[in-house]
Symmetry: C2
Subunit: 376 residues, 2 copies
């Protein structure tokens, strides 16, 4: 475990690391985990090479190595394909234990909660994040309390219950669900670990960048295509590559190409690309209007000379079909990446012979019926 | 790639390696891949340590390294838990790309077929094997022809079609399905890669043993609990540990504890433990009466001083519930392992403080509805 501060990104205040914080109460600022001397590290030297799982990176995480002993996170595969003259490297995050990249963030959050001897967590979600937090709560022997919209898919509700969560169904908007979850924390029933806010979530996600670096070398990567809504994935990968640069492993940052769902493209909007007229139904993992970390997301795209696309349901359907024909058994939300690749190629935002990483975020196996009706 | 012979286990005849064989036509013998001088190898020296995926082991496989470049098989996690005084190491094979351990065998088989420039494969299966062979056929750009029983689950049929298989539904027994698939090969429509017979399948499976050795050291392992029906998993792990012993990596073989489904326990029967009266419905992956490699299976258990258990549906149901409560999202078939662990403990076949590996073979996500009805 590296030494760290929990720092408010709005005012710079440092919060004590022996307590659980998910935001800076005084000014509603988002938090980050700031490392004291990451510049003095050499990536190769701090790796725990005796492990071929996430414990390899324990020295770059705010968690003790031994807390990770029960954590079933192995590196996800990377698969290279030639697509229209570029080298596309697909990163198969949908093969993580609960079927999405969210496992990485949930693991590090739950591990931290475990170290703080807290026994009960609260999270709001209608999908993959709730399942990921519940899975790691089971593994670490704590109680998960998951707040979901009343109209969330029945299958996901039952999966949450099967994994042992207390499931609270809330009538009303997604914001109402969020409010009820935070209210539950105020009543003292556990700590809120919501992935839109909690900075340990981002620490878990950044291990994607470390794995990519070990698998293909980030210096060789021109761009990374990242499905984006609350920003955890984008900001996690960004933090990972920034730390690699600070350690002298890479000379410059790869471009981050964010992809959003039409109608919910708040990041694209902030960057001046509009929001999309149609409201996507298929990209159910990307329908967030008001991500609290929007400022950080804008910065990550600008700093890496990246860009942002939004994708419609028609495009998602075509891309989903294509990805399944290539053997990638992903959910519709993940298919936005392939549409973005095609857009970036046709606009020459990505040049021929580039090396492009495409992050495939969620498994289609949880919703096979729906997938099959879309692609067959 | 190591030099190898394809050898008949009945008569010892060597078959040419430039052609596809799945059995010895003359005497109906099963085949094995025999390496010329594995004794002269040192495991640590032949590993391709620059890779953290299955390419690490390419020098111990009958496949060229570069053929594996498109193969998305990363090490599966190993998770340690204390259970009634033993150290249980769960090997999460259900996290492989198509959701079962069969991916390892399907990959090596399809990669070999690819090297032989064959464009079409034929396989008979009603479940995970068909899905695994189809997935890797998609990845390697060949046509999968899958023969399944007419009454196979609708979801699995649709999954096969979604991945691009030609699906042939056969009325009648499982043996009839097998016959029709082999008939299709005789008509010249492709090569039969059936996992009950094809020796390359076992080569893929043996990488489980290599991974285990790198993860926890096989010398520390007292027993491995293995769901067993056609024998691919048992024989693959057995071949892997035997090769590790030949290379001088381990002084002796861990005990292999086979687990079968009640009513279909042919291996238990051959070993003198009976077959079970009840016919299991829940362990749908284990219902094979007449595995062609039964003689080899008996030998693997005897040579390792192992044993065999069969498990009823009531036991499966309890174990499934327990495994899900621990965060292991497996299918009913995989739950037989936990029942076997309890039996072995109560019979003192496994002593206190032993280190036991439990292979969790298949994902429950493909059949969530059924799982949830069993455990909630």
């Amino acid at each position: 475990m590296v030494k760290y501060d929990i720092k408010c990104l709005r005012c710079g205040t440092k919060l004590p690391s022996k307590k659980w914080f998910w935001k800076h109460e005084e000014d509603n600022g988002t938090l980050t985990i700031a490392y004291k001397d990451v510049e003095s590290y050499r990536f190769k030297d701090v790796l725990n090479t005796e492990f071929i799982d996430i414990r390899r990176y324990a020295n770059l995480l705010p968690i003790r190595l031994k807390t990770l002993n029960m954590a079933p996170i192995s590196p996800t595969p990377i698969v290279k394909r030639r697509i229209r003259g570029v080298n596309a490297f697909f990163k198969l995050e949908y093969l993580l234990p609960s079927g999405s990249f969210k496992d990485r963030g949930a693991l590090i959050s739950i591990a931290k909660v475990k170290e703080l001897r807290i026994k009960s967590i609260i999270e709001d979600s209608s999908g993959n994040a709730g399942i990921a937090f519940t899975l790691f709560s089971s593994i670490y022997g704590m109680q998960a309390n998951i707040f979901i919209p009343k109209d969330a898919p029945e299958g996901k509700k039952r999966m949450l219950k099967a994994l042992g969560a207390n499931v609270y169904e809330v009538e009303g908007s997604r914001e109402k669900v969020n409010y009820e979850a935070r209210e539950y924390e105020r009543k003292g029933y556990g700590v809120y670990v919501g992935h839109w806010w909690n900075p340990f979530f981002i620490e878990g996600i950044k291990t994607i960048a470390f794995e990519l670096h070990e698998q293909i070398g980030i210096s060789n990567v021109d761009a990374i295509i990242v499905p984006t809504s609350s920003g955890g994935l984008l900001l996690g990968i960004y933090k990972g590559v920034v730390e690699l640069k600070k350690m002298g492993e890479i000379p410059k940052l790869p471009r981050l190409i964010a992809v959003q769902a039409s109608g919910y493209a708040r990041l694209c909007y902030e960057l001046g690309y509009g929001m999309g007229v149609e409201y996507s139904k298929l990209a159910d993992g990307l329908r967030i209007n008001n991500p609290p970390r929007i400022g950080e997301m804008v910065l990550a795209v600008k700093e890496t000379k990246g860009t942002c696309y939004y994708v419609t349901d028609d495009e998602i359907k075509k891309s989903l079909k294509k990805l399944w024909s290539m053997g990638f058994t992903v959910e519709p939300t993940s298919a936005v990446t392939f549409s973005a690749l095609l857009k970036a190629l046709s606009e020459r935002v990505i040049e021929k012979e580039s090396n492009v990483v495409i992050v495939l975020t969620g498994s289609g196996l949880k919703m096979l019926d729906k997938i099959l009706s879309l692609i067959t």
